[in-house]
Amino acid sequence: MAQQIDALSGPAVETPARTLSERILRMLNKAPIHLGLALVGLVWLAPSIGLLVTSFRPRSDIQSSGWWDLGRFRFTLENYESVLQAQGMLSAFINTLWISIPSTILPLLLCCMAAYAFSWLRFPFRDTLFLLVITLLMIPVQVAFIPVLTLFRILDETTGVGLLRGYGAIWLAHTAFALPFGIFLLRNFFITLPRDLIEAARIDGASDINIFRTVVLPLSVPAIAAYGIFQFLWVWNDLLMALVFVQDGRNWPLTRQILGLLGTYGSEWHLLAAGAFILMTVPLLVFFSLQRYFVQGLLAGSVK
């Protein structure tokens, strides 16, 4: 791989520099690239750092000077305290967990099961049905909103289960909308498992449930982890589904709660900045701790 990178960087790299002047010349040669990348780094970091710095500044300072005026920086945690307590972001944080965790585990389980059937069991119309799954992959969620919401409303009115008042509606909706992509992704991984292994287990008399549990799942941990992380962050970051399917304000997730801050406090940046970073904590943690799975999951998820 190192060779290939070098191949793109000109013949100068192929031999090590011998003299100081040679080294300096080489750096000058690459100066436009370093400059360009420095600019890229600046443009991609400055906006987020600006908001991060702002989230630790007292309200009065934010109104009188820009965050880039680092000489006037004074540190405070008041914004975070105020947003977490008075603005309800702490309970919204817990709500987000309440929404995200079942909305990750449930589709993960159902997708693994269906993907196993599509890859290692035999049933009629298997390929046709899998083609249907791929077709459904691209359907915009908007197409399902009105009928699903109407269905939930009628169910709530006739049975009083309170799907829309609680988390039932959003769990079911996230799970269902995740299925085509999850089945597609996991099925493509499952079919790469060694056939001999599964055949051997079958000859030893293992049932399908046992093959699924003791052979397929343990061998697929990386793929399942990548998909699980993707789905978790997808739900964590979602706003649209929460707008439609979480109707009780006490159950709102962070994304929806921040919207409230934006509406009520148009220029109260001390609250908004802190709120946005509370929303970002978990994805950033996942990003830095599980970067490999995370990038894999996102790249695979690009077809969604």
């Binding site: 290939q4 990348l37 890229v40 035999r122 009629p124 909103f145 009105i146 649209l240 790249l299 690009s302």
Partner: protein, 314 residues
């Protein structure tokens, strides 16, 4: 479930329930199948039908034929207005997004991937550019609404142009600027994705080809346009399709940054669908917008199915 019958995958699915059918497949498929039918298949049919209905309360109340579509295309300047120049409306804005967002994300992604490949801190640059992919569009929207703040002691952009005596500019408050301002945010959020994919593709280009070109006296410019660009054109087209889907589904950024405003200047289709149906109670009209979105995505679906098949996935 006799083991010897070898009910094992990869042979084509049989067309009838009989010998060779693995009955336990029902157990594995049923939960997912029920959810897919109730939440995807049935709703799609329902929404298509509802788009020809008045759809009060989301239920079938009165058939109106094509009136919802007629209304959207002919009598709703907030959806599409071709009578002015430049045209305006949600669908036009989606087109604007499609052209600018897709091309600039691809171009910047490739340029950054090529540049990053020539320095030691490649991984760091890629991580920095990729970072926005991790965070919610809602957070991106807050970050950039702050950058765009019309108050030059708060908004970075107005502070910068203020140093040369210009501005302040209401980036999000001006109907002529608002779309470009939000498209820039969309680009900022997606370039890292393109960079990571294209950087992987670049590493797949055999060293010999570039060396041979160099020996033959090709300039760096020629190597970039004649070798690198053509050799990453396949991943580029796959990326382009993904970005097109992003544009059609675009919602969060608009909803948080401007709520479609000022007026209706920055609306997009997904925003119109949500607003008409859930804020305005016009479910028939909302369903029609959803169907239009679906129709736009059908060619994309076809492209992907063909691609998956050629990769011998199906």
């Amino acid at each position: 479930m006799t083991a010897a019958s070898g009910a094992i995958g990869s042979s084509r699915g049989r067309r009838s329930w009989g010998e060779g059918t693995n009955w336990s497949s029902l157990v594995f498929l049923l939960p997912a199948a029920i959810l897919v039918i109730v939440f995807l298949v049935y709703p799609t049919i329902y929404t298509v039908l509802l788009s020809f209905n008045r759809g009060r309360n989301g239920e079938f109340t009165e058939w109106v034929g094509l009136r919802n579509y007629e209304q959207l295309f002919l009598r709703d300047p907030a959806f599409i207005n071709l009578s002015t120049f430049p045209p305006s409306g949600a669908m036009w804005n989606n087109l604007l997004w499609l052209i600018l967002y897709v091309s600039i994300v691809l171009a910047l992604g490739l340029i950054i991937a090529v540049m990053a490949g020539r320095v030691r801190y490649e991984a760091l640059i890629k991580a920095v550019v990729f970072l926005p992919m991790a965070i919610a569009a809602t957070a991106l929207a807050v970050i950039w609404t702050f950058v765009y703040s019309p108050n030059p002691t708060q908004g970075l952009l107005n502070a910068i142009i203020g140093t040369v005596g210009a501005g302040p500019v209401a980036w999000l408050g001006n109907p002529d600027l608002v779309n470009y301002a939000i498209i820039a945010v969309g680009i900022w959020g997606s370039v890292g994705f393109a960079t990571v994919i294209l950087s992987a593709a670049l590493k797949g280009i055999p060293t010999e080809i570039i060396e041979a070109a160099r020996v033959d006296g090709a300039s760096e410019r020629q190597i970039f346009f004649r070798i690198i660009v053509p050799m990453v054109s396949l991943p580029m087209s796959v990326l382009a399709v993904t970005l097109v889907v992003n544009v059609v589904k675009l919602f969060d950024l608009i909803f948080v940054m401007t709520a479609g405003g000022p007026g209706t200047a920055s609306r997009v289709m997904a925003f119109t669908m949500y607003t008409e149906a859930f804020a305005g109670g016009l479910f028939g009209k909302g369903a029609a917008v959803a169907v239009i979105m679906l129709l736009i995505l059908i060619p994309v679906m076809a492209f992907n199915i063909r691609r998956f098949r050629s990769e011998a996935v199906v």
